[in-house]
Symmetry: C2
Subunit: 252 residues, 2 copies
């Protein structure tokens, strides 16, 4: 039987420790193609590159593995992969990560990793994003390996519902089990750090404080902080259906 | 009575024709503060700038108007506005646009304009994005003026439900009326245009063909193409609630 074809990308770059573990894990399951950003692309969300051309560089090719780096965003990587690399055979699974840092709650919308997952989903391929609540670039994510293996094999075997993808977030340390969650209600309270350049002009660094306003233990951020692997099924429909009937009366 | 304070941003830049009309319209309603990108930021989605510092430059100040330009993304503009400009008094309304090009359907997730609207919404301020189905930088959007005026006044007066914002998309020409819609199911079929540089190496330009897979006349893209002003109420919760119970059985 033909080995499954697995496409891997991320936003932390081709060189990140997280993607290296994901490549190792997926290579146990199938053949792997990577198209990942050349440079760090955290917080790039669904950004696409239209005002400058893109490059795609083959980094490595060996039995069961081809790796490319792209000088664009995570979404550019997925679009290039499907348009240029996967001409003859589409992948059976798209996985992104393992992200250095949580993509639970509001972080989903800023995340380049999750944007790549939504792109895979839009291509009609079962797609999963894996993230760990640990930003350290040297972090060891091996406590997640057996969960990633199991979830990936399950999705490869049974697929996912149409237009649905998974946002999987792991705690920093020991994992108590799995909880299927909803996106936690949360926001960032921004603080810009002001500094002066050598000419005396102000410049600002974006920083922020995370605020969770959800208390439900089925909210992804809460479940993750409680030590669970939080699986949130997602889609790209942002419609707030609950107000539609009221707003018809109000605006039409 | 104090005039309302209205915050305006966009993704087409401080210099775009669309934002100039929006400034004119909002100045009839209240005092206006603009923080808009210095350069074109279309397709930047929720991207935030963290690997380089940001600058904020006051461009113009006159009675009832202050305009700033920022060297970041639309989301950076909103975060800087709320963190640096609106220290004493928060705005009463956030409006973004008028975008040159539709932000209906899947375009919502790539749009810098709509990302700015979601940021305003996360700050707890009623927020609206206005877009016209016309990419021409010289396009005349004056056929939308009376609708923008009416919707903005309505939202200023009555507010919006908590965590809900509006994505308003206008047709290119005559407007038949208003329809409250859902986000149309659609996707982009990417085509990368390959060219050779003077050294003979390949580079690629991102292009694509839009595919709508929705036929409902309440889908925003369809309503807009039918000549209606399509108002889609939105929120930033990407959870696919309909599969949660099934996935608990499957993954837990």
């Amino acid at each position: 039987m033909e080995r499954p074809l697995i496409f891997i990308t991320n936003d932390d770059s081709y060189w990140a420790k997280g993607i290296q573990l994901l490549i190792k894990l997926m290579s146990n399951i199938g053949d792997v193609v990577v198209v990942a950003p050349l440079t760090q692309q955290s917080g790039k969300s669904h950004a696409i590159t239209t005002i400058r051309p893109l490059r795609l560089k083959k980094m490595e090719e060996r039995e069961g593995y081809i790796g490319y780096a792209c000088n664009g965003t995570p979404v550019d990587c997925v679009k290039m992969a499907f348009s240029i690399v996967f001409k003859d055979r589409k992948p059976d699974l798209v996985v992104a990560g393992i992200n250095h840092g949580s993509n639970a709650s509001i972080n989903t919308i800023y995340s380049g990793t999750m944007a790549a997952v939504f792109e895979g989903c839009a291509e009609g391929i079962p797609s999963i994003g894996f993230s760990v609540d640990n930003h350290d670039v040297e972090a060891d994510f091996s406590h997640c390996s057996s969960f990633i293996d199991k979830i990936s094999k399950d999705v490869l075997e049974k697929g996912l519902d149409e237009h649905i993808c998974l946002n999987v977030n792991f705690p920093q340390d020991e994992i108590k089990g799995v909880k299927v969650c909803h996106q936690a209600k949360a926001y960032w309270n921004e603080r810009f750090l002001e500094r002066k350049d050598p000419m005396g002009f102000s410049y600002y660094w974006l920083t922020g404080i995370y605020n969770c306003r959800d208390e439900n233990n089925r909210a992804d951020h809460i479940a993750m902080k409680d030590g669970y692997c939080a699986i949130t099924p997602m889609h790209v429909d942002l419609t707030a259906y609950k107000v539609i009937e009221d707003y018809k009366i109000r605006f039409e």
